[in-house]
Symmetry: C2
Amino acid sequence: MRARVRAELTEQIKASARAQLAVDGANLSMRAVARELGMVSSALYRYFASRDELLTALITDAYVDLACDLEAAESRVSRRDLLGRWRAIACGVRTWAVAHPYEYALLYGSPVPGYQAPQSTIQPASVPLRLLVALALDADAQGLAPAAGPPRLPPELRSTISELADLEGLAGLPAWVFAHVAVAWTHLFGAVSFERFGRLQGSGLDYALWFDYQADFMAGYLGLTRPGAQA
Amino acid sequence: MRARVRAELTEQIKASARAQLAVDGANLSMRAVARELGMVSSALYRYFASRDELLTALITDAYVDLACDLEAAESRVSRRDLLGRWRAIACGVRTWAVAHPYEYALLYGSPVPGYQAPQSTIQPASVPLRLLVALALDADAQGLAPAAGPPRLPPELRSTISELADLEGLAGLPAWVFAHVAVAWTHLFGAVSFERFGRLQGSGLDYALWFDYQADFMAGYLGLTRPGAQA
DNA sequence: TGTACATCAGTGAACGCGCGTTCACTGATGTAC
DNA sequence: TGTACATCAGTGAACGCGCGTTCACTGATGTAC
Protein backbone atom coordinates (compact mmCIF):
# COMPACT_ATOMS: atom_id res chain seq x y z
CA MET A 1 0.00 0.00 0.00
CA ARG A 2 1.46 3.29 -1.11
CA ALA A 3 -0.60 5.16 1.46
CA ARG A 4 1.14 3.35 4.29
CA VAL A 5 4.59 4.32 3.14
CA ARG A 6 3.40 7.84 2.57
CA ALA A 7 2.03 8.15 6.09
CA GLU A 8 5.26 6.81 7.50
CA LEU A 9 7.40 9.28 5.63
CA THR A 10 5.09 12.11 6.60
CA GLU A 11 5.76 11.18 10.20
CA GLN A 12 9.49 11.06 9.57
CA ILE A 13 9.41 14.51 8.06
CA LYS A 14 7.58 15.87 11.04
CA ALA A 15 9.97 14.13 13.40
CA SER A 16 12.94 15.64 11.66
CA ALA A 17 11.29 19.05 11.63
CA ARG A 18 10.64 18.72 15.35
CA ALA A 19 14.33 18.06 15.86
CA GLN A 20 15.10 21.15 13.78
CA LEU A 21 13.11 23.28 16.20
CA ALA A 22 15.91 22.87 18.69
CA VAL A 23 18.36 24.53 16.37
CA ASP A 24 16.43 27.35 14.84
CA GLY A 25 13.25 27.80 16.79
CA ALA A 26 10.23 28.52 14.71
CA ASN A 27 12.09 29.37 11.55
CA LEU A 28 12.77 25.84 10.54
CA SER A 29 14.29 25.14 7.19
CA MET A 30 12.76 22.85 4.60
CA ARG A 31 16.16 22.21 3.11
CA ALA A 32 17.61 21.23 6.47
CA VAL A 33 14.77 18.80 7.04
CA ALA A 34 15.24 17.30 3.60
CA ARG A 35 18.97 17.05 4.13
CA GLU A 36 18.52 15.17 7.37
CA LEU A 37 16.25 12.72 5.62
CA GLY A 38 18.62 12.27 2.70
CA MET A 39 16.10 13.63 0.23
CA VAL A 40 16.20 16.48 -2.14
CA SER A 41 14.42 19.54 -0.80
CA SER A 42 11.81 19.65 -3.51
CA ALA A 43 10.61 16.18 -2.55
CA LEU A 44 9.16 17.58 0.65
CA TYR A 45 6.57 19.40 -1.37
CA ARG A 46 4.89 16.07 -2.12
CA TYR A 47 4.05 15.97 1.58
CA PHE A 48 3.63 19.57 2.68
CA ALA A 49 2.64 22.31 0.30
CA SER A 50 4.75 24.89 2.08
CA ARG A 51 6.87 25.60 5.11
CA ASP A 52 3.90 27.11 6.86
CA GLU A 53 1.89 23.97 6.35
CA LEU A 54 4.62 21.88 7.92
CA LEU A 55 4.87 24.28 10.84
CA THR A 56 1.12 24.12 11.27
CA ALA A 57 1.25 20.34 11.37
CA LEU A 58 3.89 20.50 14.10
CA ILE A 59 1.83 22.91 16.12
CA THR A 60 -1.36 20.91 15.78
CA ASP A 61 0.42 17.69 16.67
CA ALA A 62 1.98 19.30 19.71
CA TYR A 63 -1.33 20.58 21.03
CA VAL A 64 -2.88 17.17 20.53
CA ASP A 65 0.04 15.41 22.13
CA LEU A 66 -0.05 17.61 25.19
CA ALA A 67 -3.82 17.27 25.42
CA CYS A 68 -3.61 13.47 25.28
CA ASP A 69 -0.91 13.34 27.92
CA LEU A 70 -2.92 15.53 30.24
CA GLU A 71 -6.15 13.66 29.71
CA ALA A 72 -4.41 10.35 30.28
CA ALA A 73 -2.65 11.52 33.42
CA GLU A 74 -5.76 13.10 34.86
CA SER A 75 -7.99 10.17 34.10
CA ARG A 76 -5.76 7.84 36.09
CA VAL A 77 -6.71 9.64 39.28
CA SER A 78 -9.87 8.85 41.18
CA ARG A 79 -12.63 11.35 40.33
CA ARG A 80 -13.02 12.18 44.00
CA ASP A 81 -9.39 13.04 44.55
CA LEU A 82 -9.59 16.65 43.47
CA LEU A 83 -6.13 17.60 44.67
CA GLY A 84 -4.70 14.57 42.89
CA ARG A 85 -6.43 15.57 39.68
CA TRP A 86 -5.07 19.09 39.95
CA ARG A 87 -1.58 17.79 40.50
CA ALA A 88 -1.89 15.43 37.59
CA ILE A 89 -2.81 18.31 35.31
CA ALA A 90 -0.23 20.72 36.67
CA CYS A 91 2.63 18.25 36.69
CA GLY A 92 1.41 16.92 33.37
CA VAL A 93 1.93 20.28 31.77
CA ARG A 94 5.36 20.68 33.23
CA THR A 95 6.43 17.15 32.43
CA TRP A 96 5.35 17.56 28.85
CA ALA A 97 7.17 20.87 28.62
CA VAL A 98 10.36 19.35 29.98
CA ALA A 99 10.10 16.46 27.56
CA HIS A 100 9.29 18.71 24.58
CA PRO A 101 10.96 22.01 25.29
CA TYR A 102 10.97 23.35 21.77
CA GLU A 103 7.42 22.36 21.06
CA TYR A 104 6.42 24.00 24.30
CA ALA A 105 8.14 27.17 23.18
CA LEU A 106 6.35 26.94 19.86
CA LEU A 107 2.97 26.73 21.54
CA TYR A 108 3.41 28.96 24.56
CA GLY A 109 6.32 31.22 23.67
CA SER A 110 6.30 34.43 21.75
CA PRO A 111 4.19 34.11 18.63
CA VAL A 112 5.97 33.82 15.30
CA PRO A 113 5.52 37.19 13.63
CA GLY A 114 3.18 36.94 10.70
CA TYR A 115 2.09 33.42 11.50
CA GLN A 116 -1.56 32.78 12.26
CA ALA A 117 -2.49 29.49 13.86
CA PRO A 118 -5.35 27.79 12.01
CA GLN A 119 -8.79 27.09 13.44
CA SER A 120 -8.00 23.43 13.86
CA THR A 121 -5.67 24.14 16.76
CA ILE A 122 -8.33 25.84 18.84
CA GLN A 123 -9.97 22.70 20.09
CA PRO A 124 -6.85 20.82 21.27
CA ALA A 125 -5.38 24.06 22.61
CA SER A 126 -8.31 24.45 24.94
CA VAL A 127 -7.96 21.07 26.61
CA PRO A 128 -5.86 22.16 29.59
CA LEU A 129 -8.37 24.84 30.53
CA ARG A 130 -11.28 22.46 29.98
CA LEU A 131 -9.81 19.91 32.33
CA LEU A 132 -9.44 22.59 34.96
CA VAL A 133 -13.00 23.73 34.46
CA ALA A 134 -14.28 20.19 34.87
CA LEU A 135 -12.26 19.94 38.06
CA ALA A 136 -13.72 23.19 39.36
CA LEU A 137 -17.23 21.97 38.58
CA ASP A 138 -16.66 18.86 40.65
CA ALA A 139 -15.15 20.89 43.46
CA ASP A 140 -18.12 23.18 43.37
CA ALA A 141 -20.47 20.21 43.48
CA GLN A 142 -18.63 18.88 46.53
CA GLY A 143 -19.13 22.25 48.20
CA LEU A 144 -15.42 23.05 48.27
CA ALA A 145 -14.93 26.79 48.31
CA PRO A 146 -11.63 28.50 47.66
CA ALA A 147 -9.69 29.32 50.79
CA ALA A 148 -9.79 33.07 50.24
CA GLY A 149 -12.57 34.71 48.30
CA PRO A 150 -11.43 36.10 44.97
CA PRO A 151 -11.91 39.80 44.23
CA ARG A 152 -15.26 40.93 42.97
CA LEU A 153 -15.74 40.52 39.23
CA PRO A 154 -16.65 43.78 37.52
CA PRO A 155 -19.96 43.42 35.65
CA GLU A 156 -18.35 43.75 32.24
CA LEU A 157 -15.97 40.89 32.92
CA ARG A 158 -18.74 38.85 34.46
CA SER A 159 -20.88 39.04 31.37
CA THR A 160 -18.05 38.24 28.96
CA ILE A 161 -17.07 35.30 31.11
CA SER A 162 -20.64 34.05 31.28
CA GLU A 163 -20.86 34.19 27.52
CA LEU A 164 -17.64 32.22 27.25
CA ALA A 165 -18.93 29.62 29.69
CA ASP A 166 -22.19 29.33 27.75
CA LEU A 167 -20.28 28.71 24.53
CA GLU A 168 -18.48 25.85 26.21
CA GLY A 169 -21.73 24.32 27.38
CA LEU A 170 -21.11 25.35 30.96
CA ALA A 171 -24.19 27.44 31.48
CA GLY A 172 -24.43 26.24 35.07
CA LEU A 173 -20.97 27.37 36.09
CA PRO A 174 -20.84 30.56 38.15
CA ALA A 175 -18.75 33.21 36.44
CA TRP A 176 -16.46 33.63 39.39
CA VAL A 177 -15.57 29.94 39.35
CA PHE A 178 -14.63 30.19 35.73
CA ALA A 179 -12.57 33.29 36.45
CA HIS A 180 -10.89 31.56 39.34
CA VAL A 181 -9.94 28.64 37.17
CA ALA A 182 -8.68 30.88 34.41
CA VAL A 183 -6.41 32.56 36.93
CA ALA A 184 -4.92 29.25 37.94
CA TRP A 185 -4.57 28.26 34.30
CA THR A 186 -2.62 31.45 33.64
CA HIS A 187 -0.54 30.93 36.74
CA LEU A 188 0.25 27.34 35.88
CA PHE A 189 1.56 28.10 32.43
CA GLY A 190 3.34 31.14 33.79
CA ALA A 191 5.27 28.89 36.15
CA VAL A 192 6.16 26.43 33.43
CA SER A 193 7.20 29.19 31.06
CA PHE A 194 9.39 30.88 33.64
CA GLU A 195 11.24 27.65 34.14
CA ARG A 196 11.43 26.74 30.47
CA PHE A 197 12.36 30.18 29.24
CA GLY A 198 15.29 30.50 31.57
CA ARG A 199 13.94 32.97 34.08
CA LEU A 200 15.10 30.72 36.94
CA GLN A 201 18.57 30.22 35.58
CA GLY A 202 21.26 30.82 38.13
CA SER A 203 18.84 30.66 41.02
CA GLY A 204 20.05 27.27 42.08
CA LEU A 205 16.47 26.15 42.61
CA ASP A 206 15.48 22.56 42.05
CA TYR A 207 12.99 23.19 39.28
CA ALA A 208 10.77 20.23 40.03
CA LEU A 209 10.54 20.99 43.74
CA TRP A 210 9.91 24.65 43.10
CA PHE A 211 7.19 23.78 40.64
CA ASP A 212 5.52 21.41 43.05
CA TYR A 213 5.52 24.13 45.66
CA GLN A 214 3.89 26.50 43.22
CA ALA A 215 1.33 23.92 42.15
CA ASP A 216 0.38 23.38 45.77
CA PHE A 217 0.16 27.10 46.22
CA MET A 218 -2.34 27.26 43.37
CA ALA A 219 -4.22 24.28 44.74
CA GLY A 220 -4.46 26.29 47.94
CA TYR A 221 -6.20 29.24 46.43
CA LEU A 222 -8.35 26.95 44.33
CA GLY A 223 -9.56 25.47 47.60
CA LEU A 224 -8.36 21.97 46.78
CA THR A 225 -6.03 21.41 49.72
CA ARG A 226 -7.32 20.37 53.07
CA PRO A 227 -6.67 23.20 55.52
CA GLY A 228 -4.37 20.94 57.51
CA ALA A 229 -1.89 20.79 54.65
CA GLN A 230 -1.22 24.49 54.86
CA ALA A 231 1.60 25.85 56.97
CA MET B 1 32.16 66.84 18.73
CA ARG B 2 32.33 63.62 16.85
CA ALA B 3 31.31 61.64 19.90
CA ARG B 4 27.96 63.37 20.05
CA VAL B 5 27.05 62.50 16.48
CA ARG B 6 28.21 58.99 17.07
CA ALA B 7 26.00 58.55 20.11
CA GLU B 8 23.05 59.91 18.20
CA LEU B 9 23.49 57.54 15.31
CA THR B 10 23.96 54.63 17.69
CA GLU B 11 20.56 55.47 19.11
CA GLN B 12 19.07 55.67 15.64
CA ILE B 13 20.43 52.26 14.79
CA LYS B 14 18.93 50.80 17.90
CA ALA B 15 15.63 52.50 17.22
CA SER B 16 15.51 51.10 13.74
CA ALA B 17 16.47 47.66 15.01
CA ARG B 18 13.70 47.87 17.59
CA ALA B 19 11.25 48.57 14.78
CA GLN B 20 12.63 45.55 12.91
CA LEU B 21 11.71 43.32 15.84
CA ALA B 22 8.08 43.72 14.86
CA VAL B 23 8.74 42.15 11.49
CA ASP B 24 11.11 39.34 12.22
CA GLY B 25 11.21 38.81 15.91
CA ALA B 26 14.61 38.08 17.31
CA ASN B 27 16.27 37.35 14.00
CA LEU B 28 16.69 40.93 12.99
CA SER B 29 18.68 41.73 9.91
CA MET B 30 21.66 44.07 9.85
CA ARG B 31 21.06 44.79 6.21
CA ALA B 32 17.44 45.72 6.83
CA VAL B 33 18.45 48.08 9.60
CA ALA B 34 21.08 49.69 7.39
CA ARG B 35 18.59 49.98 4.56
CA GLU B 36 16.10 51.78 6.72
CA LEU B 37 18.75 54.23 7.75
CA GLY B 38 19.94 54.79 4.20
CA MET B 39 23.38 53.44 4.94
CA VAL B 40 25.37 50.66 3.49
CA SER B 41 25.24 47.54 5.62
CA SER B 42 28.94 47.47 6.34
CA ALA B 43 28.72 50.90 7.96
CA LEU B 44 26.84 49.40 10.89
CA TYR B 45 29.98 47.58 11.93
CA ARG B 46 31.47 50.90 13.01
CA TYR B 47 28.81 50.89 15.73
CA PHE B 48 28.17 47.27 16.59
CA ALA B 49 30.74 44.58 16.05
CA SER B 50 28.13 41.98 15.16
CA ARG B 51 24.45 41.22 14.99
CA ASP B 52 24.61 39.61 18.40
CA GLU B 53 26.07 42.74 19.90
CA LEU B 54 23.25 44.83 18.52
CA LEU B 55 20.70 42.35 19.82
CA THR B 56 22.35 42.43 23.21
CA ALA B 57 22.15 46.20 23.26
CA LEU B 58 18.44 46.01 22.53
CA ILE B 59 17.88 43.51 25.29
CA THR B 60 19.88 45.46 27.83
CA ASP B 61 18.12 48.69 26.93
CA ALA B 62 14.75 47.01 27.22
CA TYR B 63 15.46 45.63 30.68
CA VAL B 64 16.66 49.02 31.81
CA ASP B 65 13.70 50.80 30.28
CA LEU B 66 11.22 48.48 31.96
CA ALA B 67 13.07 48.76 35.25
CA CYS B 68 13.01 52.56 35.11
CA ASP B 69 9.33 52.65 34.30
CA LEU B 70 8.52 50.35 37.17
CA GLU B 71 10.68 52.19 39.65
CA ALA B 72 9.21 55.50 38.61
CA ALA B 73 5.62 54.27 38.81
CA GLU B 74 6.14 52.57 42.15
CA SER B 75 7.93 55.50 43.71
CA ARG B 76 5.01 57.80 42.97
CA VAL B 77 2.88 55.87 45.46
CA SER B 78 2.99 56.54 49.17
CA ARG B 79 5.26 54.03 50.92
CA ARG B 80 2.42 53.08 53.24
CA ASP B 81 -0.01 52.26 50.47
CA LEU B 82 1.05 48.69 49.92
CA LEU B 83 -1.81 47.76 47.64
CA GLY B 84 -1.15 50.87 45.57
CA ARG B 85 2.49 49.94 45.25
CA TRP B 86 1.60 46.44 44.15
CA ARG B 87 -0.80 47.79 41.56
CA ALA B 88 1.78 50.25 40.31
CA ILE B 89 4.24 47.43 39.75
CA ALA B 90 1.74 45.01 38.26
CA CYS B 91 0.13 47.53 35.93
CA GLY B 92 3.53 48.95 35.19
CA VAL B 93 4.67 45.64 33.79
CA ARG B 94 1.57 45.27 31.70
CA THR B 95 1.62 48.84 30.46
CA TRP B 96 5.20 48.53 29.41
CA ALA B 97 4.47 45.24 27.66
CA VAL B 98 1.57 46.78 25.77
CA ALA B 99 3.71 49.74 24.76
CA HIS B 100 6.67 47.58 23.75
CA PRO B 101 5.23 44.28 22.63
CA TYR B 102 8.21 43.04 20.67
CA GLU B 103 10.71 44.00 23.28
CA TYR B 104 8.55 42.24 25.85
CA ALA B 105 8.61 39.14 23.68
CA LEU B 106 12.36 39.43 23.39
CA LEU B 107 12.79 39.55 27.16
CA TYR B 108 10.06 37.22 28.35
CA GLY B 109 9.26 35.05 25.36
CA SER B 110 10.94 31.90 24.22
CA PRO B 111 14.70 32.27 24.30
CA VAL B 112 16.53 32.69 21.02
CA PRO B 113 18.22 29.36 20.38
CA GLY B 114 21.96 29.67 20.76
CA TYR B 115 21.82 33.15 22.22
CA GLN B 116 23.16 33.67 25.70
CA ALA B 117 22.26 36.91 27.48
CA PRO B 118 25.33 38.60 28.93
CA GLN B 119 25.99 39.22 32.61
CA SER B 120 25.14 42.88 32.27
CA THR B 121 21.45 42.12 31.88
CA ILE B 122 21.20 40.30 35.18
CA GLN B 123 21.00 43.39 37.34
CA PRO B 124 18.27 45.28 35.42
CA ALA B 125 16.40 42.04 34.83
CA SER B 126 16.05 41.51 38.53
CA VAL B 127 14.40 44.85 39.24
CA PRO B 128 10.77 43.68 39.06
CA LEU B 129 11.40 40.94 41.60
CA ARG B 130 13.41 43.30 43.81
CA LEU B 131 10.57 45.78 43.93
CA LEU B 132 8.23 43.03 44.99
CA VAL B 133 10.60 41.83 47.65
CA ALA B 134 10.88 45.35 49.06
CA LEU B 135 7.11 45.51 49.13
CA ALA B 136 6.88 42.22 50.94
CA LEU B 137 9.41 43.38 53.49
CA ASP B 138 7.31 46.43 54.24
CA ALA B 139 4.17 44.33 54.45
CA ASP B 140 5.91 41.98 56.82
CA ALA B 141 7.04 44.92 58.94
CA GLN B 142 3.47 46.16 59.09
CA GLY B 143 2.39 42.77 60.30
CA LEU B 144 0.33 42.01 57.22
CA ALA B 145 0.11 38.29 56.71
CA PRO B 146 -1.10 36.65 53.54
CA ALA B 147 -4.76 35.77 53.58
CA ALA B 148 -4.19 32.05 53.24
CA GLY B 149 -1.04 30.39 54.46
CA PRO B 150 1.17 29.12 51.66
CA PRO B 151 2.10 25.45 51.53
CA ARG B 152 5.00 24.31 53.60
CA LEU B 153 8.40 24.84 52.00
CA PRO B 154 10.39 21.63 51.71
CA PRO B 155 13.75 21.99 53.48
CA GLU B 156 15.75 21.81 50.29
CA LEU B 157 13.83 24.68 48.76
CA ARG B 158 13.99 26.61 51.97
CA SER B 159 17.77 26.48 52.08
CA THR B 160 18.21 27.43 48.42
CA ILE B 161 15.84 30.32 48.87
CA SER B 162 17.61 31.49 51.99
CA GLU B 163 20.90 31.47 50.11
CA LEU B 164 19.32 33.51 47.35
CA ALA B 165 17.96 36.01 49.84
CA ASP B 166 21.35 36.31 51.51
CA LEU B 167 22.98 37.06 48.18
CA GLU B 168 20.57 39.90 47.70
CA GLY B 169 21.35 41.31 51.10
CA LEU B 170 18.02 40.19 52.51
CA ALA B 171 19.27 38.01 55.27
CA GLY B 172 16.39 39.09 57.49
CA LEU B 173 13.66 38.00 55.11
CA PRO B 174 11.90 34.75 56.03
CA ALA B 175 12.25 32.20 53.25
CA TRP B 176 8.54 31.71 52.92
CA VAL B 177 8.01 35.42 52.26
CA PHE B 178 10.55 35.31 49.51
CA ALA B 179 8.87 32.22 48.07
CA HIS B 180 5.51 33.89 48.30
CA VAL B 181 6.75 36.90 46.41
CA ALA B 182 8.42 34.78 43.78
CA VAL B 183 5.11 33.06 43.20
CA ALA B 184 3.37 36.37 42.60
CA TRP B 185 6.22 37.48 40.34
CA THR B 186 5.77 34.34 38.26
CA HIS B 187 2.03 34.79 38.22
CA LEU B 188 2.27 38.43 37.21
CA PHE B 189 4.46 37.79 34.19
CA GLY B 190 2.39 34.76 33.36
CA ALA B 191 -0.68 36.95 33.09
CA VAL B 192 1.07 39.52 30.93
CA SER B 193 2.55 36.85 28.70
CA PHE B 194 -0.77 35.11 28.21
CA GLU B 195 -2.26 38.36 27.02
CA ARG B 196 0.71 39.40 24.90
CA PHE B 197 1.28 36.01 23.35
CA GLY B 198 -2.27 35.67 22.15
CA ARG B 199 -3.59 33.09 24.56
CA LEU B 200 -6.66 35.27 25.23
CA GLN B 201 -7.44 35.86 21.59
CA GLY B 202 -11.02 35.23 20.70
CA SER B 203 -12.13 35.25 24.32
CA GLY B 204 -13.74 38.64 23.99
CA LEU B 205 -12.25 39.69 27.31
CA ASP B 206 -11.30 43.27 27.95
CA TYR B 207 -7.62 42.69 28.51
CA ALA B 208 -7.09 45.59 30.89
CA LEU B 209 -10.05 44.68 33.07
CA TRP B 210 -9.09 41.05 33.14
CA PHE B 211 -5.57 41.95 34.09
CA ASP B 212 -6.73 44.21 36.89
CA TYR B 213 -8.86 41.41 38.20
CA GLN B 214 -5.90 39.09 38.19
CA ALA B 215 -3.65 41.65 39.82
CA ASP B 216 -6.19 42.06 42.60
CA PHE B 217 -6.35 38.32 42.92
CA MET B 218 -2.62 38.20 43.46
CA ALA B 219 -2.80 41.11 45.88
CA GLY B 220 -5.31 38.99 47.75
CA TYR B 221 -3.03 36.06 48.29
CA LEU B 222 -0.14 38.38 49.04
CA GLY B 223 -2.26 39.74 51.88
CA LEU B 224 -2.30 43.27 50.54
CA THR B 225 -6.04 43.78 50.22
CA ARG B 226 -8.19 44.69 53.15
CA PRO B 227 -10.56 41.77 53.84
CA GLY B 228 -13.54 44.01 53.05
CA ALA B 229 -12.48 44.30 49.42
CA GLN B 230 -12.95 40.60 48.87
CA ALA B 231 -16.22 39.21 47.59
C1' DT C 1 -1.68 -14.13 -15.78
C1' DG C 2 0.00 -10.52 -18.77
C1' DT C 3 0.04 -6.28 -20.92
C1' DA C 4 -1.01 -1.04 -21.21
C1' DC C 5 -1.62 2.77 -18.83
C1' DA C 6 -2.09 6.12 -14.97
C1' DT C 7 -0.34 7.61 -10.77
C1' DC C 8 2.91 9.67 -8.12
C1' DA C 9 7.45 9.72 -5.25
C1' DG C 10 11.63 11.48 -5.81
C1' DT C 11 15.42 14.01 -8.81
C1' DG C 12 18.29 17.79 -10.17
C1' DA C 13 18.75 22.10 -11.96
C1' DA C 14 17.41 26.57 -11.65
C1' DC C 15 15.32 31.24 -10.14
C1' DG C 16 15.74 34.96 -7.38
C1' DC C 17 16.35 36.28 -3.13
C1' DG C 18 18.50 37.74 1.48
C1' DC C 19 21.93 37.26 4.73
C1' DG C 20 26.49 38.46 8.02
C1' DT C 21 30.81 39.91 7.56
C1' DT C 22 35.40 41.40 5.40
C1' DC C 23 38.32 44.52 3.13
C1' DA C 24 40.64 48.06 0.66
C1' DC C 25 39.20 52.56 -0.29
C1' DT C 26 37.83 57.73 -0.05
C1' DG C 27 37.13 61.92 2.19
C1' DA C 28 35.76 64.55 5.79
C1' DT C 29 36.58 65.79 10.54
C1' DG C 30 39.42 66.71 14.18
C1' DT C 31 44.36 67.41 16.46
C1' DA C 32 49.24 68.96 17.07
C1' DC C 33 52.83 71.73 16.01
C1' DT D 1 46.56 81.20 12.14
C1' DG D 2 48.08 77.68 8.95
C1' DT D 3 49.81 73.50 7.63
C1' DA D 4 50.65 68.24 8.18
C1' DC D 5 48.97 64.33 9.86
C1' DA D 6 46.01 60.93 12.24
C1' DT D 7 41.54 59.40 13.01
C1' DC D 8 37.55 57.39 11.67
C1' DA D 9 32.69 57.37 9.35
C1' DG D 10 30.92 55.67 5.47
C1' DT D 11 31.41 53.26 0.61
C1' DG D 12 31.06 49.57 -2.64
C1' DA D 13 32.37 45.31 -4.09
C1' DA D 14 32.91 40.82 -2.91
C1' DC D 15 32.83 36.08 -0.43
C1' DG D 16 30.33 32.31 0.60
C1' DC D 17 26.43 30.90 2.32
C1' DG D 18 21.39 29.34 2.96
C1' DC D 19 16.82 29.79 1.81
C1' DG D 20 11.61 28.58 -0.30
C1' DT D 21 9.71 27.21 -4.23
C1' DT D 22 9.00 25.77 -9.26
C1' DC D 23 9.41 22.76 -13.02
C1' DA D 24 10.31 19.35 -16.42
C1' DC D 25 11.98 14.83 -15.84
C1' DT D 26 12.61 9.66 -14.65
C1' DG D 27 11.17 5.37 -12.95
C1' DA D 28 8.97 2.64 -9.92
C1' DT D 29 4.55 1.27 -8.07
C1' DG D 30 -0.02 0.24 -8.52
C1' DT D 31 -4.58 -0.54 -11.43
C1' DA D 32 -7.70 -2.09 -15.21
C1' DC D 33 -8.71 -4.90 -18.82
